[in-house]
């Protein structure tokens, strides 16, 4: 498993990657929240926010097909989950399926939920495509998330790779002994492997903790990166936030 494919445009120089990570995170979050919370039927507002994401995509020099490909997985899930809206929203039937009927308000809601999801999702995908995980963590620290959370995440990042290696080794070993025929035995196998991984995670954590103490760790993880804010960056972020806000207000007005 790898996160590497996620941030492959983080190193492409562009106005977007020049911004401090915290600006990127705040910007993407504001667009996602703005889009996700649009009142039902606010199509022009959804289109405006979509255009905003498209503009940022161009600025970041991220190829549109890549963005769409990244979105397809989560989008498939959204489609699946929102299909129910077609029939569960009461109203005029437009298509009788025998047992149930697709209703007109159902179709409208289905379409709009999908539109909100697409815009919010594209903002999120754009963020991870242009921001490396360590930078994202740095942004979260600056946003004053509980220190426990950011520290746990910093350590979890490296550990996850080690655990996935162990996981794969364990699964391979189990398979080579022909384990895992039938659902029950596969389940037992998976639970056994998960338990072994958890144990190793804790053992590794103990050793890592000793390594941290040996290097003077006293309970605080200091950060290294410094990002310089320039006037144009502040202006860009302010403009973005302003546009999202105006769109949200107009959509309700």
């Amino acid at each position: 498993m790898s996160f590497h494919h996620l941030d492959q445009f983080a190193t492409v120089p562009s106005p977007v990657t020049a911004m401090p990570p915290v600006a990127r995170l705040v910007g993407a979050t504001s667009v996602a929240v703005g889009a996700a919370t649009l009142p039902l039927g606010a199509w022009p507002a959804a289109a405006a926010l979509g255009a905003l994401v498209a503009a940022m995509t161009l600025l970041a020099r991220v190829p549109v097909p890549l963005l769409l490909r990244r979105m397809s997985g989560p989008l498939a899930f959204v489609l699946l989950a929102s299909a129910g809206l077609l029939v569960f929203v009461p109203g005029d039937p437009v298509l009788d399926l025998g047992w149930v009927a697709v209703t007109r308000p159902g179709v409208e809601r289905f379409g709009f939920v999908l539109a909100r999801a697409v815009v919010a999702l594209s903002a999120a995908v754009l963020l991870v495509t242009t921001t490396e995980f360590p930078d994202l963590l740095d942004a979260l620290r600056r946003l004053r998330l509980p220190r426990v959370v950011t520290t746990a995440l910093s350590l979890a990042y490296r550990l996850l790779y080690l655990l996935m290696e162990e996981l794969e080794r364990l699964l391979r070993a189990a398979r080579s002994r022909n384990a895992g025929a039938g659902a029950a035995s596969r389940r037992r196998l998976a639970a056994g492997v998960a338990a072994a991984v958890l144990q190793r995670a804790f053992a590794r954590a103990e050793r890592t903790h000793r390594a941290m103490l040996a290097r003077g760790y006293q309970g605080e993880l200091a950060t290294l990166t410094e990002w310089r804010w320039r006037a144009w960056m502040v202006a860009a972020l302010a403009t973005l936030l302003g546009l999202v806000l105006v769109t949200a207000v107009l959509a309700r007005g």
Partner: protein
């Protein structure tokens, strides 16, 4: 006469679960000495090294660094800066998202500002030939690079004593020679726990054999390695090619 740099006196230790690990270990290391701590797996080498900077607390006897006793007191952070411990598994020591952060971790904890810490980390990485990989995560490094990186995280704090636990576990012959050259050139006082006698011969002047938690031999290394009966008795293989 000044106190030895490292002094271990009648050190005894058993793990909380009751496993005895060390039993009356005494050892003095002078400044500039390079000592190999030899012994088969389970003889207590790792346990001994972890006493040098107070990660483990003796159940008997004690450890002194430059005459200062290693205990939970206020001197501990100072001792931890003086004694650099390189763990057996580099993965235990490289726990942050990027190599730069890992190397800067020690200086940052010592109160060095972010800019200086970054500069020191960069310089350290360059010295070990790791320039250019600082922004990478440890899982994108080769085994040898990872070993060097773990060393960098410790050297960057400029320790007086360097304690290495099985440093050649995953190195080939060339990687081993590179490590030896590097450590000889730097000149820190060394304690190297290993059962790799080739490494010991290339790097150290003195050998201490640990067996069942006791010191069973402490001699000039050439003499020690020449004593076939001793090596055999304590489960150590003589260096290859002899």
């Amino acid at each position: 006469m000044t106190a030895p740099l490292v002094e271990i006196r009648e050190l005894g230790f058993h793990y909380p679960d009751g496993t005895p690990a060390l039993d009356g270990v005494s050892l003095a290391v002078a400044r500039g000495e390079r000592v190999a701590v030899l012994g088969p797996t389970g003889s207590g080498k790792s346990t001994l090294l972890q006493h040098l900077n107070g990660l483990l607390r003796p159940t008997a006897g004690g450890v002194w660094i430059e005459g200062v006793t290693v205990d939970a007191g206020p001197g501990l952070s100072d001792i931890r800066r003086k004694v650099g411990l390189v763990f057996q598994d580099p993965n235990d020591q490289l726990f942050l998202p990027t190599l730069m952060e890992d190397v800067a971790f020690g200086p940052l904890n010592d109160g060095v500002g972010p800019v200086d810490a970054a500069a020191r980390a960069t310089a350290m990485l360059r010295e070990l030939g790791l320039d250019g990989v600082g922004a990478r995560a440890a899982h994108h490094l080769s085994g040898g690079e990872r070993r060097l990186a773990a060393l960098a995280t410790v050297l960057v704090s400029r320790p007086v004593v360097l304690a290495l636990d099985e440093p050649t576990g995953d190195l080939d012959a060339r990687g081993r020679m590179r490590l030896v050259d590097l450590l000889r050139a730097r000149g820190e006082t060394l304690l190297v726990a290993t059962h790799d006698l080739t490494l010991a011969r290339a790097l150290c002047g003195r050998g201490v054999v640990l067996y069942g938690g006791r010191v069973v031999a402490d001699r000039e290394l050439g003499a020690l390695l020449a004593d076939r009966a001793l090596l055999e008795r304590y489960g150590l293989e003589s260096p290859s090619g002899e």
